[in-house]
Symmetry: C2
């Protein structure tokens, strides 16, 4: 069975040394509460809960899955009890508004906890995870009455939330939804329609489930501009604010999926269910984007979490499994064979996982700081929000692509055993496969990054980030020991801008050029972004070593991993640049009917 | 449910137009039987059997899996009956020696059939597939008595075979095996030990199962030079040659796997089971390599088969699913949205699948011709055998890596639906995952290619192939319409040799350089090899178009796909070259204990 140990030393490295969270917290209005002692306690308790409670349930969840019986969904053994412990530990309220019972700690601390949850038990983590997003929407766009009715219960964790967007015929293209909302005399709405792929749509872990549902009013304009958002509880709140009468929403079935078996993925049937309009009519999609953006970062975190746990178990196996001798002669002549960690290609896979895990952590914790700044408002908020907008599709798509690769390398390191259920490595592959799809596929993230975020801002949003990279490289210009990193990074940073210009110019002639370049462009951006964080990591490690430390091995390992990243992963940009530059022609030239002639005639 | 249609037009293209199988068959001693009429009948009947009988059982096999009860393994509903039809159709004997009841047709025809089987139902195909390899070993290394006892039954299909190599503590490193063979007074051997991961080790489809087992004699030298090969039947043949008394071999359990659920993966316990020595003592591994080499090509075929079926279903979905508008404005304004095949990134994924399927088919059918030539003996056999040795690890590893990518692109094209069992796309990912592992992982194939095949021959084996590529490019030098392909191919072909020299030079100083470069080198070799077949395909298509054809769309589609391959997939070599050239240092520099310090301190 796979194990998991919260990577507290590395989390500390990123928080205390690389990104200086203590100073960051000191500058936040709610930062006083995030004292070093509190942060430390959260890390320790979070590690304990995820290692001891969630990790052992991960394979149980996969093997048992959820079961469905006439509208009732039963979660795997232990899931409900673990959730109870989570509620009793006060975790749901940690970063929520004190006005509704929250502890008001910065969002970033919730994200750090979430990394551990994602490593320990992805399926379980989605129940509180979805709830979190729903709370955000209600807090920002709900009326006072709605907040009163729903938010406090959700903050304490006794009620959970969902987001109901997808329908059988539309996922990406929400303009096509058919779910209807009929205004009622009492000011509420009768919601009717079918939603699919609703994660945590029905389960046995909470007293009530609060659905946020996209639907169309009778007078709605066509397409995505005619979508409104409604809050539709499973049970209507009664006079005491408790879960009362059953509302007209039922789980029709649950999906049989490749992975995340422990999470219920529901078909939800709304049959005149009573709902309340959130905000203004026809603006639902923009409200939902609050939730979707947070969810996208959350899925990026899933990618990171799975990368980390795949790495930990791969490393343990590579140290333990004896097979063949080192190509340079026996390293452990006293053993029947050498442990496979001596083989260069096994090390390549381990280091790939390590570089993605630790580099990904730096990137996503950086976005966590941006989220804190956006929430804090004030003068930094705008700048932070723009940067966050740029980095969100990179975090979502790049870290999930990396997570899937890392999980697959885990299987590869285990060899045939990797394919066998009981070893647990194949579950990480199956679980991570969904992260490349939900909350917008990699292709959709790529269009968001290149089309919406970068080209629509005439490249301004990118410049905001590349300037920062440039500044870092410039500042280290005289640092010859860092030159192996900064020289390459500086070149790529410049190339990034040039590539953007090239695609932008081509796109003015032909919009398909954006779609043709987009995924290569996103992956390129991801590699360069991670290179920036690895260069900073190298700098931090170098400084620690220069200043004297009793953790020499830790910092030398950081430098070695940075070097690996620059030599073995970053060159992937060469292929991406080459394919990008060939443009759209080879994709668009083929006539649709020519595709299938090998088997159709 | 996924569908499958045998790609007969493309198979015809490769066999008749690209690789001129009619002439190839005319030059084989057993080629007369492979007349155009016979070939045509085999293709038609093979298509019918795989489309109508095997395809509908593929999801059944995945959902039900095999079940185990006290040593008895029951295959999924319909598997047994399908196998009966297969036997009645005379398929097992098609390419076998007429001396044992075979039809004596060239091996390549069996491979063509096997492609269809792999697309239709990978799990089912492994039952006869393993048997095929076992027959090869018995034919080449068995005594007359052994052939008499086992081969005829296997040729008619009433008995099946297995290969028993792996043990719990060793897979790659067979020198470590512990299974023992004690010589008995009657000249037989008592085999004792545990074998794992034995595909088709126990099942209900045949009257007897003939295991080929690696074991050690009491006086065996240590390591891989002390391994002998034994034939151990489940039931001892009785005086009439039928399955008689039960032998001392039992299936102890079956594995719960990520995929290929329909195939039984068995733990086999040998408890003093009666066995017969094959060939000479201590030479078992070399005999088994006959089987393993064939099996490796067979696994490459699995990669191809899954690429093809993933492509077919992705294409159907991409034409059907309406989502968003073309970036250049509506293509089907009368519909609610455009079919997703209009989107450049969806086309990128479809064309990747198509390029791997059709290019892979050309490559593997070419190796099928080499196998025919080796079987035929004669003056071409040596040359063919050398080329086959070079191409085997490329076929195995490159086509399975490509198959996994193609299957994943299938899931990606289906979006969220790709993750759902009933749509069938995720099964292709799970099934294809094993192909990168068994019969030697990609890493092992890479060491075989670079270390054993190329460097140990001082690069001679590679030159044999690059000369052929060079000759092709040279011959087309004046062909300006082909220059977009031959110019690049020619450069890569030269670079391939140079890279080999570079790695070889470095390896003389440090053997780890081989391991460090190997997987990048193998993938590079795969891309260049496929480029050669795509360039030849382009030439063939060009000629057909120039000569006048009523299938203009088919040949234009070939040219467009070749162009896509050169512009969008071949540039991946740029990253591989860049990473290869950074050598082993960044992999080997890190101390073992530095790997885990992020979570261990």
């Amino acid at each position: 069975m796979p194990t998991y140990k919260a990577p507290l030393r590395d989390i500390r490295f990123v928080m205390d040394e690389l990104l200086d969270f203590p100073t960051h917290y000191a500058q936040l209005p709610n930062g006083d509460d995030a004292s070093p002692e509190i942060v430390s306690a959260i890390l320790q308790e979070g590690a304990k809960f995820t290692e001891e409670v969630l990790t052992p349930l991960n394979q149980v969840g996969d093997s048992q899955g959820c079961s469905y019986n006439e509208g009732v969904v039963t979660t795997p053994d232990g899931f409900k009890e673990a959730y109870q412990q989570y509620v009793e530990g006060g975790w749901p309220s940690m970063t929520q508004d004190p006005a509704y019972g929250g502890q008001g700690l910065p969002s970033s601390l919730g994200m750090v906890l979430n990394e551990m949850v994602c490593s320990a038990n992805l399926s379980w983590g989605m129940y509180p995870g979805l709830s979190h997003g729903a709370m955000d929407v209600l807090l920002h766009h709900g009326t006072d009455a709605q907040k009163e009715m729903f938010l406090s219960k959700m903050v304490e964790g006794s009620w959970t939330g969902t987001m109901c967007l997808t329908e059988p015929h539309c996922g990406t293209d929400l303009g096509l939804i058919r779910t209807k909302a009929e205004p009622q005399a009492d000011g509420t709405y009768a919601i009717s329609g079918t939603k699919i792929f609703i994660s945590a749509g029905e389960h046995d872990m909470s007293d009530n489930i609060v659905h946020l549902v996209l639907a169309k009013l009778p007078d709605a304009p066509g397409g995505s501009k005619g979508i409104s958002l409604f809050v539709v509880p499973k049970f209507m709140p009664d006079a005491q604010g408790e879960a009362g009468e059953r509302n007209g929403v039922q789980c029709g079935s649950i999906e049989h999926k490749m992975g995340i078996h422990g999470n219920s993925t529901c078909v939800m049937n709304f049959d005149g269910a009573q709902g309340y309009l959130i905000g203004e009519p026809h603006k639902g999609l923009s409200y939902m984007f609050v939730m979707m953006n947070a969810a996208r970062i959350g899925v990026g975190m899933q990618g990171l979490g799975l990368t980390e746990v795949a790495y930990q178990n791969s490393l343990a196996y590579a140290r333990d499994r004896l097979q063949m001798r080192s190509l340079n002669g026996p390293k452990f002549p006293e053993k029947a064979a050498d442990p496979i960690i001596v083989h260069p290609d096994v090390r390549r896979m381990l280091l790939t996982q390590k570089a993605f895990a630790e580099g990904g952590r730096a990137l996503i914790y950086y976005t966590a700081q941006l989220i804190d700044k956006v929430h804090a408002g004030g003068e930094d908020a705008n700048e932070a929000n723009e940067l966050l907008g740029l980095l969100t599709p990179i975090v979502k798509a790049f870290l999930t692509e990396a997570g899937f690769e890392a999980a697959n390398e885990g299987v590869q390191i285990y060899g045939g055993h990797g394919f066998i259920h009981e070893w647990g490595m194949e579950q990480f592959v199956r679980d991570s496969r969904i992260t490349r799809l939900y909350e917008g596929t990699t292709g959709i993230q790529a269009l968001d990054l290149l089309g919406r975020k970068i080209l629509m801002s005439q490249g301004e949003s990118l410049k905001r980030f590349t300037k920062q990279v440039h500044k870092f490289c410039k500042a280290e210009e005289g640092n010859s020991e860092l030159a192996e990193f900064t020289t390459t990074l500086s070149q790529l940073n410049q190339e990034w801008g040039e590539l953007t210009m090239q695609v932008g110019m081509k796109a003015m002639q032909n919009r398909d050029e954006v779609g043709a370049a987009s995924v290569d462009y996103l992956m390129y951006s991801g590699y360069v972004t991670l290179a920036y964080f690895w260069a900073q990591t190298a700098k931090t490690a170098q400084t620690a070593l220069a200043n004297g430390t009793n953790e020499t091995a830790f910092y030398q390992g950081k430098l070695a991993t940075a070097r690996f990243y620059f030599q073995k992963l970053l060159p992937r940009t060469r292929a991406l640049v080459a394919t990008m530059q060939t443009g759209a022609d080879s994709l668009m030239a083929m006539e649709d009917e020519q595709f299938g002639l090998g088997f159709e005639i």
